[in-house]
């Protein structure tokens, strides 16, 4: 390893199209060279470190609908791509219906950065450590994507392919994330483990959501999403299925947490060892599920 002593933002061209169609067209014309650009809190850092070198940053923050934060009592929440996290946190509708999402946003970086950072940007960055991805996953988020040929919708659960890799193709612009109405009587929690209390990347993040579901043998459905423990944000379905079929007790919660830990494949890195991360998935999943269960019962 050699240390780059003078990381610098390389030269690039800033492009601000007037319409989504124009933006998609431009992105299609320069595949591999042009990237959509939201708050910039990740992209600038990665460009400065030389990890990516786009020639064009296409600002999509002013385009149709990307600034909307809209809650419809029948349909749910639509969060425009350009809506920053502090707006999400401050939104009364989010606080009332998706407090879990606000909680996840609050765990990200610092107040100053959250004025730039966006939930959609967090998703498109596709880091396994993304703190807000878990909440969007357990609420069954759906991405609204503008492509050259029009619009498409894509479930978030199928979006991630690997670290920094998604199903997005050149010309695709995620305009919003839509969260359906939260399940009735649901409760959620996000537990983030950083090395210190403020502004760290998550060493492990556990999102848990639960709600009554009479159609299931246990009477409850639990959702889990794990950050920083696999190449992609991970949903440990074995643990979820297990809790759907077992009476909810401290023992079954422990077993589900164990299954969650078994499902993940963490790595050793500067921030922590795989061994510790796996243990933390188990302990924090148990804690998160218990906390949710306390709120439900």
């Amino acid at each position: 390893m050699t240390i780059n002593t003078h990381p610098t933002l390389p030269e690039f061209e800033y492009v601000r199209p007037e319409t989504l169609a124009e933006a998609s067209e431009f992105l299609t014309r320069y595949p591999g060279e042009a990237r959509p650009f939201l708050g910039g809190t990740d992209i600038f850092v990665r460009m400065r470190d030389g990890l990516i070198t786009p020639n064009f940053l296409v600002d999509v923050k002013k385009l149709d609908g990307t600034n909307d934060l809209r809650f419809e009592p029948q349909a749910g929440l639509t969060l425009g791509a350009a809506v920053n996290m502090n707006r999400v946190i401050a939104s009364r509708e989010v606080q009332a219906h998706y407090p879990l999402l606000a909680e996840a946003c609050r765990s990200v970086a610092s107040y100053q950065l959250r004025t730039r950072a966006t939930v959609v940007g967090n998703i498109c960055n596709a880091s396994p450590a993304g703190d807000t991805i878990g909440a969007c996953l357990v609420f069954n988020g759906v991405l609204h994507i503008h492509e050259v040929n029009g619009l498409r919708q894509e479930p978030l659960a199928e979006f991630f392919l690997g670290p920094g890799k998604t199903t997005l193709k050149p010309g695709d612009i995620v305009t919003a994330i839509h969260l359906p109405l939260p399940p009735k009587g649901c409760a959620g929690v996000y537990l983030k483990l950083g090395r210190n209390k403020l502004s760290d990347l998550s060493l492990v993040g556990v999102t848990a959501l639960g709600h009554p579901d009479p159609s299931l043998p246990s009477g409850y459905r639990f959702r889990l999403a794990l950050a920083s423990v696999a190449p992609v944000p991970l949903v440990p379905t074995q643990a979820e299925t297990y809790l759907a079929n077992q009476p909810i007790t401290p023992e079954t919660i422990r077993e589900a947490a164990h299954l969650a830990a078994e499902a993940c494949a963490p790595i050793d890195d500067l921030r922590g060892s795989a061994r510790y991360r796996k243990e933390m998935v188990r302990n924090l999943s148990a804690k998160a599920l218990s906390e949710v269960w306390e709120k439900l019962k």
């Binding site: 390893m1 050699t2 240390i3 780059n4 002593t5 003078h6 990381p7 610098t8 483990l193 090395r195 210190n196 209390k197 403020l198 502004s199 760290d200 990347l201 060493l203 500067l270 921030r271 922590g272 060892s273 061994r275 510790y276 243990e279 933390m280 302990n283 924090l284 804690k287």
Partner: protein, 784 residues
């Protein structure tokens, strides 16, 4: 004439005066080195650095880089044959023949833009022959280790530093007090432990910056963020072979130093490059990445302790071996080795002590001074051993410390006697404040609580004759302008200087100004802003200078009023007579003097007081035994205690409460003294819980704030208490001695002892990260 109220004028000494620099800093008006503007003539410097920890330079080809348009100068070690260094001159400004750490400067470029300078760096071709590196200090002292400084025997060295030529040991400090070997059999309990303290970095908010300009006649001006403008003047001038008077250093207030901006680190690079582009200022500004491994780091330490006490708990013997991982150049680190040696008993009276403290060259980043100067590293292990020894002999750890800690008149490890000290009071205070002996219930079932306590001592580590000087002059309006050479690095010294000058002369604090920025051409000499020595040493110089001015003023007035000086006083900016009850404001006489009656001429004139202070009583220590009459000027002592909670599910430690008590002799500004205690606690806590430079093959793996974590405001315990103990220093101004560094010395062991109290695990060294704590608890079978 209005009557001055002399009854209710409180002395500013001991008052919580508002910081003299508060307004400028809060409003953003304060000027830092990077704020100086130089216009179009400014050139930008960049440094080509070694990617290898240890290699011989075979060839440097700068031809292509020189041809690049916009490049104005390229320099290499060939251009600058002079050595540089504070206590041991073991460094070239640019490497010659050999590189000794990853980041060692090989060449420097000045260009019209940063981009061109960077491009030129990439075009410099360097051929190297890679050598085996030394990456561990214990390996470094072994005969198998490659020599990093084969010329060690020829280096210029201070008389009290003892290098071992032909080895990687640049200083070997010994204590041989009493007879350790025969003491062990008298011990009822013995503890033997090994600790490993990692490298950390100071991480000042403001990175290092230096702008150098050389004029046509060779005169050098250096603007920089510096704790040591005068040491830089001296050392850079010596190394470049110029006169000290041709070297001018201008140093505005510093945005955080913690030792990293003491001595000379990167400043000489800018000066060297500037000699090749006369008339043009050359700016070198370190990036945060460079800050982490090319400025000073805190040395690593491998420490062995053996300690024993009798059945009553009286300490009988201590035997230590310290291997300082001092890095590629130890020009400053050699004295950390010495300081840890002459403090190696800790703040205890121990009849038999044997210490070997080795400063070891390694191919790691350059170790330098950092807040505490070796004491936090040494106390980290020592104060854990004290707890373990108390446990073994069945004594309470506080009782054990009270029994053994230094008291006034105790015989020190170097053989001299302890001056009056409030250490026993400090122990009492923190034990009481933390609720020692009482276990409070944890906040949740999966948490465990613990309390821990540690003591400390530390002397200013400096040459025996480190001097200060000061002047004061009065303006037409009677305000006092105080010239000092010590630097404001956030510690509040300008405020304390103003308080002392005001008190010594007799003017209100509000009418004192400090002459800034520090400029070696106009400011009075100060050795360095290090060692927590300014309040004491510079303070003495200020008081004497103010008294000098006071004498001049009173002589003029006494003559005019036909009274004696003893009849007069200066109160609140007014000269008053107790005898005749006459009075005259200072502004009426300090510039123009006083007229003689009947238009018969004048007396007096512009008042300027000047003086200095230098300790004259520090003696040498025997090189074989470390014994001597007076090793240091004084010791500041103190204690800290913490209460914390360990989360069994994650291993995370939450500090619930931190308590500090230090004997500062006299608190000139009590709130600022307390702020030092709090700040030191937080920095100590940060080094205990989070901080480590992760070195692999000589390369720092985490040179950024993403993965070098420091405590944030959210990590600070909600309950942070600071207590001031005042047992006067005989030669301190109003009895004051230093407090800046001391407050982070006992924090690591206090936390380690509290972790042990909570969950019964101990570690080889910090940081006590959640992961380390969790896995240790798991390995010990405390959790599943």
């Amino acid at each position: 004439m209005e009557k001055a109220n002399t009854q209710n004028i409180p002395s500013p000494i001991g008052e919580n005066k508002q910081r003299i620099d508060a307004r400028d800093k809060v409003t953003g008006a304060a000027i830092y080195a990077d704020d100086f503007q130089f216009g179009n003539s400014l050139l930008h410097a960049r440094i080509k650095r070694s990617p290898h920890p240890h290699a011989l330079i075979k060839k440097i080809d700068t031809t292509k880089a020189r041809a690049l348009p916009g490049v104005k100068a390229i320099v290499t070690g060939e251009d600058f044959p002079g050595y540089i260094g504070l206590y041991l001159q073991d460094r070239f400004i640019f490497c010659r023949e050999r590189v000794r750490y990853v980041g060692d400067p090989v060449a420097g470029v000045a260009a019209i833009s940063e981009e061109i300078a960077q491009k030129a760096l990439d075009m410099i071709e360097v051929e190297c022959e890679i050598l085996e590196p030394v990456l561990d200090p214990e390996f470094g002292v072994s005969p198998k280790a490659p020599l990093i400084h084969p010329d060690l025997g020829q280096y210029v060295v201070a008389s009290f530093i003892l290098p071992k030529p032909g080895t990687n040991i640049s200083n070997h400090f010994k204590i041989r007090k009493g007879d350790v070997d025969s003491a062990w059999e008298k011990c009822a309990a013995i503890v033997e432990r090994k600790y490993r303290i990692p490298h950390i970095q100071h991480v000042p908010i403001e990175p290092h910056v230096a702008i150098a300009k050389v004029d046509e006649s060779g005169g050098v001006t250096l603007w920089g963020s510096s704790q040591s403008p005068f040491a830089q003047r001296n050392l850079i001038a010596q190394s470049m072979g110029i006169s000290q008077s041709d070297m001018r250093v201008i140093a505005p207030i510093v945005g955080g130093g913690f030792g990293s901006k003491a001595g000379v680190s990167m400043e000489a690079l800018a000066v060297a490059i500037a000699t090749k582009v006369k008339g043009r200022p050359v700016k070198l500004l370190l990036t945060r990445e460079e800050e982490f491994f090319t400025a000073f780091v805190r040395q690593g330490l491998v420490a062995y302790f053996k300690m024993g006490c009798d059945e009553k708990g009286r300490l009988l013997a201590v035997e230590n071996r310290f291997y300082w991982d001092a890095g590629a150049y130890t020009e400053y680190g050699v004295n950390i080795t010495r300081a840890s040696g002459y403090s190696s008993s800790g703040p205890y009276e121990v009849p038999n002590v044997k210490t070997d403290s080795y400063c070891v060259y390694t191919n790691h980043p350059v170790g330098g001074p950092m807040r505490g100067f070796g004491m936090p590293e040494m106390h980290a292990g020592l104060e854990q051993c004290i707890d373990e020894l108390a446990l073994q002999i069945g004594m309470d750890a506080v009782a054990f410390r009270k029994l053994n800690c230094l008291k006034t008149g105790s015989i020190l490890v170097t053989g001299s006697k302890m001056h009056p000290t409030g250490l026993p009071q400090c122990v009492e205070i923190v034990a009481e404040a933390i609720g020692w002996g009482k276990k409070s219930p944890p906040s949740a079932p999966h948490k465990r609580r613990g309390k821990g306590l540690a003591l400390m001592w530390k002397a200013p580590a400096m040459p025996p004759n480190a001097g200060s000087s000061a002047w004061v002059e009065l303006a037409e309006d009677g305000t006092l302008n105080v010239g000092v050479g010590g630097q404001e690095i956030g510690q509040g010294v300008f405020t304390v200087a103003a308080q002392m000058a005001a008190a010594a002369l007799g003017v209100p604090y509000e009418s004192v100004r400090i002459a800034t920025p520090i400029d070696t051409r106009y400011s009075p000499y100060e050795w360095q802003t290090v060692a927590s020595r300014l309040t004491w040493s510079m303070g003495n110089a200020i008081v004497r200078a103010a008294k000098d001015a006071r004498r001049q003023i009173l002589e003029v007035v006494a003559e005019a009023w036909e009274e004696t000086i003893e009849d007069l006083d200066i109160v609140n900016g007014v000269v008053i007579s107790f005898k005749s009850e006459k009075e005259i404001p200072l502004k009426n006489l300090v510039i123009y003097g006083l007229p003689k009656p009947g238009d018969q001429g004048w007396r007096g004139g512009p008042v300027i007081g000047r003086s200095n202070f230098m300790p004259t009583y520090v003696t040498g220590l025997d090189p074989e035994t470390g014994q001597g009459e007076r090793a240091v000027v004084h010791y500041t002592t103190g204690a800290q205690a913490v209460e914390l909670e360990v989360d069994l599910d994650t291993g995370r430690i939450e500090i619930l409460k931190g308590v500090s008590a230090f004997d500062v002799g006299k608190a000139i500004n009590p709130e600022m003294v307390k702020a030092q205690m709090e700040g030191g606690f937080v920095q100590g806590m940060s080094s205990a819980l989070f901080e480590i430079l992760q070195l692999k093959g000589g390369v720092v793996q985490n040179p950024s704030f993403v993965d070098y974590r420091i405590a944030t405001s959210a990590d600070i315990p909600k309950d942070l208490q600071a207590y001031i103990v005042e047992v006067a220093q005989d030669d301190g101004p109003w009895g004051a001695r230093g407090i800046g560094e001391h407050s982070m010395v006992p924090t690591i062991p206090a936390i380690a002892n509290a972790i042990y109290d909570a969950v019964g695990v101990r570690f080889e060294g910090p940081p006590f990260t959640a992961e380390k704590v969790y896995l240790a608890m798991q390995d010990a079978g405390l959790i599943e």
